[in-house]
């Protein structure tokens, strides 16, 4: 198939970027979206131009590196899918495709489609852990049974890949789905309960200081999340946060 691509090009964080048009032919419907980008980059290199920089690594939908805003949607038109797992069969011959980076004040563009998501790491530093040292002497893994339902819910929350689609999608650039997922995972497990209140306070404070916006319950984040992280996690975060605020 033949495509008209409109790709965000920006040389550095300081420079102003712009959309640039590219014509691309010979694309197979079996290609992944990133393989289509590989073809574009090969064409650019062959023409002596600079290839488009974009983050990608596992290409299996799990590392969370890829982060393209495609035709106005985080990770493109298919639900529950990362950019790397999106295939060209979702597009038609002759389509015009807009490709932009995930945009948020807390995610500055480094180059072209590559953004800086270190704010997510800093939120995790502020409380995304259970305080247990490696000793080899923790209690036996089966000493504390955990109801399957809670274990499954914790697992559902823990499947977040930290890609930032929720932030890019939210009109307020809120990171609450991301933060809520981590807080929920630990709050649902007895091991994480001990520090649950403090964790919620610290992570929310860090989230705010990074410049992420608030949640106004539009639910767009849940719709665009490639891993289907539920909005319930935000409610659980708010409960933990409130609990910590009034009972501290």
């Amino acid at each position: 198939m033949n495509l008209n691509l409109k790709v965000w090009r920006q040389d550095s964080p300081q420079e102003k970027g712009k959309m640039v048009d590219y014509q691309l032919g010979g694309i197979s419907e079996h290609m992944s979206f990133l393989e289509m980008m590989d073809v574009l980059n090969q064409q650019l290199i062959d023409n002596g131009e600079r290839p488009v920089a974009f983050d990608h690594d596992c290409r299996e939908g799990i590392c969370g590196s890829c982060s393209m805003f495609i035709n106005g949607e985080a990770h493109g038109p298919v639900k529950g899918t990362t950019t790397c797992q999106l295939h060209m069969r979702s597009f038609n011959d002759g389509d015009t495709i807009f490709i932009e980076p995930f945009r948020a004040n807390a995610f500055p563009v480094l180059k072209d489609l590559v953004i800086d998501r270190s704010a997510f790491d800093r939120i995790q530093h502020s409380g995304g852990y259970i305080s247990v040292n490696t000793s080899g002497n923790t209690q036996d893994a089966n000493a504390t049974p955990i109801p399957k339902e809670n274990a499954d819910l914790a697992m559902d929350a823990a499947t977040c890949i930290g890609c930032g689609a929720c932030v890019a999608t939210c009109k307020n650039s809120s990171a609450m789905l991301f933060v809520g997922a981590k807080i929920s995972q630990y709050a649902l497990l007895p091991q994480g309960k001990v520090e649950a209140k403090e964790r919620a306070q610290n992570m929310v404070a860090q989230m705010d200081s990074e410049g992420f916006g608030n949640c106004t319950n539009t639910g767009a984040c849940e719709v665009e999340c490639p891993k289907g992280i539920s909005l319930t996690n935000i409610a659980r975060m708010n409960r933990e946060f409130l609990d910590g605020s009034v009972n501290s």
């Binding site: 550095s12 090969q42 930290g162």
Partner: protein
């Protein structure tokens, strides 16, 4: 050639690690605060090591090329992690895990290391649960297990098909706690490009800041490489696009011996390639072989009809199907180890029974499992007269709960529904058992330079069993290295801060800068990918699932020529001091072009077949084992550790003789 000393502690195998821990030199807490350790790579091995060393009090500097340590490629591991917990009461024990791993590795691993691995395996599960890793549980709230290839017990712990993700996020969380305390200084988007040796010891690294392109000097009292495997030397593999050998290769060129480079795992269940544009291959977890049955048509004309699109697999009658693993290996059936399953798939496809357009695919079929689970559920629910479609509906729910995310992934990539029609699979490069040679302390032949996880060679011999990579990564990082490194660092407590303002750092930095400038100023005609693909073709065709003397000799010559051509004609757009992904790739491919040659040389020198290393000349010619790998224990029960001398194919061979005192060497039979 010399003989290498693995520094294995004396005494009975069951006591070696305990005795070692009792007698090892320790560093007191006040002194740990004055000691710096560099950890390169933040996967399961590097991440867990960085966190644990920081907890102990060392000052850790951790490096990863990704934008966050959470994205290291351990994240993509699917199926599970082994541990000898024997929660299922099915006869498991530390000894049995040890035995299975040594046998699974085709008797080419180091007994003492494997026993230690089996011993600490149980601690890993305890530790991870304490960290909040949400392993799968049964309705009683206790941990669930499943079975993996090459074993007769259920000892694999899992978190859906995302076990690697959950374990890595556990290690990442432990790191985050130490980053917050200032005990780990994290360098994201940094790539190690050389190791710096001062007075014969590893004292630091040269790293490139991948955002600014700046070349940085970092010093430490020890350097730990947890930098993963080198499967991408094949271009197409299940590894992440960025997975590379560079850190290990730089250490090799500075004096670390590289062990058994030819031991590569070709994983049997991957999604077949679909075209020349393909950038990577995707694994379908081995856990699927718990329930999926592997087959090809028994008649060549049926296979041809399928390839021509005239016949569907569901239209082939049961008696016209060849469940070749169940036929050839009745004891282990579909759960034979990976090397065996891969070769069997290749054999069927080479004979003309392959099922997709390229003729390179076999079926992995869940129809029987769906019916079996469906009937079980119907009984539980008291639906004694359930119709066939109701049974299938109930069965699909169970299969979905077990493997849903894998089925979804398959559907997205292939656009086919594996609940209704069998999956198509074919072997692909997945894991490298070879790596930097280390002794029992996990120290390389460079004093103060350690290699852990997939980056080293020690635990998996010539073939790794499923769910053992995660176990080894975390064992090394959480429970082994933090002990062994103290023994070395205990003599460094009076050294003080290591200066980066020395001639050794200057020389290494200049070496790195010269090479980068050579690449960006080359103005050649071919892209980096052009060379990487060509290298991959040579590797796959001549160093892949089956190897022979003629092909390996050709490979050595062709790779050497390709490398010369690369340095003359590669084109790297952009500059050295900016975010430049083509430059990153160029450096990695340049190193693969050297490693590939050593790989072929190693395969050529090993005149036997063992595990993932299958030489066509060395096959059982007759009897029950006809067609199976023919090992030569008399002449090849050793580790090949290669010393760099300049040209890869002229590397110097050192041998570590493998002693098997606790396990009898015998034919590895899964029949």
């Amino acid at each position: 050639m010399s003989t290498l000393d693995g520094k294995i502690p004396a005494g009975p195998i069951k006591d070696k690690w305990t005795t070692y821990k009792d007698k090892v030199n320790l560093v007191n807490p006040a002194n740990k605060r004055n000691i710096d350790v560099i950890v390169v790579g933040t996967g399961l091995a590097g991440g867990s090591a960085a966190a644990t060393l920081a907890e102990q009090g060392y000052n850790v500097k951790a490096f990863c090329y990704q934008d966050s340590p959470r994205r290291a490629h351990s994240i993509a591991a699917q199926g599970g992690i082994n541990a000898a917990k024997n929660y299922q009461g099915d006869g498991d024990s530390v000894y049995r895990l040890f035995y299975d791993t040594v046998k699974g590795g085709d008797y080419r691993s180091r007994e003492a290391n494997v026993h230690r691995l089996a011993e600490v395996s149980t601690n890993i599960i305890d530790q991870c649960v304490a960290q909040g890793v949400p392993f799968a549980r049964d309705y009683g709230g206790l941990l669930d297990n499943r079975s993996f290839g090459g074993v007769l017990v259920s000892r694999t712990f899992y978190a859906k098909g995302q076990t690697g993700q959950q374990l890595l996020l556990g290690a990442y969380s432990a790191m985050n706690r130490q980053i917050a305390r200032g005990k780990i200084k994290m360098y994201n988007r940094h790539e190690m490009l050389d190791v710096v040796i001062v007075d014969g010891k590893a004292r630091g690294i040269i790293a490139r800041n991948l955002v600014t392109g700046e070349i940085e000097r970092h010093s430490a009292h020890a350097v730990v490489l947890g930098t993963g495997g080198y499967g991408n030397v094949f271009y197409l593999s299940t590894n992440a696009m960025g997975s590379n050998v560079t850190a290990g290769w730089k250490a090799h060129k500075r004096g670390a011996h590289f062990a058994n480079p030819c031991y590569t795992q070709i994983h049997p269940t991957c999604i077949p390639r679909s075209g020349d544009y393909q950038s990577k291959l995707t694994l379908m977890s081995e856990s699927l072989r718990n329930d999926g049955r592997i087959w090809v048509p028994a008649k060549k004309e049926d296979a041809q009809a399928i390839r021509d699109g005239k016949l569907k697999p569901t239209e082939i009658k049961e008696e016209d199907r060849d469940y070749y693993l169940e036929r050839r290996y009745p004891a282990f059936g579909n759960l034979v180890p990976r090397d065996v399953a891969s070769r069997a798939a290749k054999e069927r496809c080479d004979e003309g029974y392959g099922v997709n357009a390229t003729g390179e695919a076999v079926y992995l079929d869940f129809a029987a499992a769906i019916v079996r689970y469906g009937k079980e559920q119907a009984t539980i629910k008291g639906e004694n007269n359930a119709t066939e479609s109701r049974i299938r509906e109930l069965g699909k729910e169970i299969v979905k709960a077990k493997y849903g995310n894998l089925f979804d992934m398959y559907k997205q990539i292939v656009a086919d529904n594996p609940y209704e029609t069998p999956m198509m699979i074919y072997p692909a490069v997945h894991y490298t058992m070879g790596g930097i040679w280390v002794d029992y302390n996990l120290m390389t032949t460079i004093p103060g330079c350690y290699a852990i996880g997939e980056a080293n060679f020690s635990d998996h011999g010539a073939n790794r069993l499923g769910a053992s990579a995660l176990m080894q990564g975390l064992a090394d990082g959480y429970f082994v290295l933090p002990y062994t490194i103290g023994d070395y660092l205990s003599s460094d407590i009076r050294t003080g801060k290591i200066s980066t303002d020395t001639k050794e750092f200057e020389e290494a930095e200049k070496h790195v800068k010269d090479r980068i400038e050579g690449l960006v100023n080359n103005n050649g005609t071919h892209s980096v990918d052009y060379y990487h693909r060509k290298l991959g073709d040579i590797m796959w065709n001549k160093c892949g699932m089956a190897r022979n003397e003629k092909g390996l000799k050709e490979a050595i010559k062709e790779i050497s020529e390709l490398r010369d051509d690369f340095w003359k004609n590669v084109s790297v757009p952009g500059g050295a001091y900016e975010l430049n992904q083509e430059l990153e790739k160029a450096g990695r491919v340049a190193d693969f072009l050297e490693l590939g040659e050593l790989f072929a040389k190693d395969a050529l020198e090993r005149n036997e077949s063992c595990g993932g290393h299958f030489r066509e000349e060395y096959v059982e010619k007759s009897g029950e084992q006809k067609g199976e790998a023919l090992r030569d224990d008399k002449n090849y029960a050793f580790v090949s550790a290669w010393q760099h001398t300049g040209v890869p194919s002229e590397a110097l061979l050192h041998k570590e003789e493998l002693q098997f005192n606790d396990i009898e060497l015998k034919q590895r039979s899964y029949k």
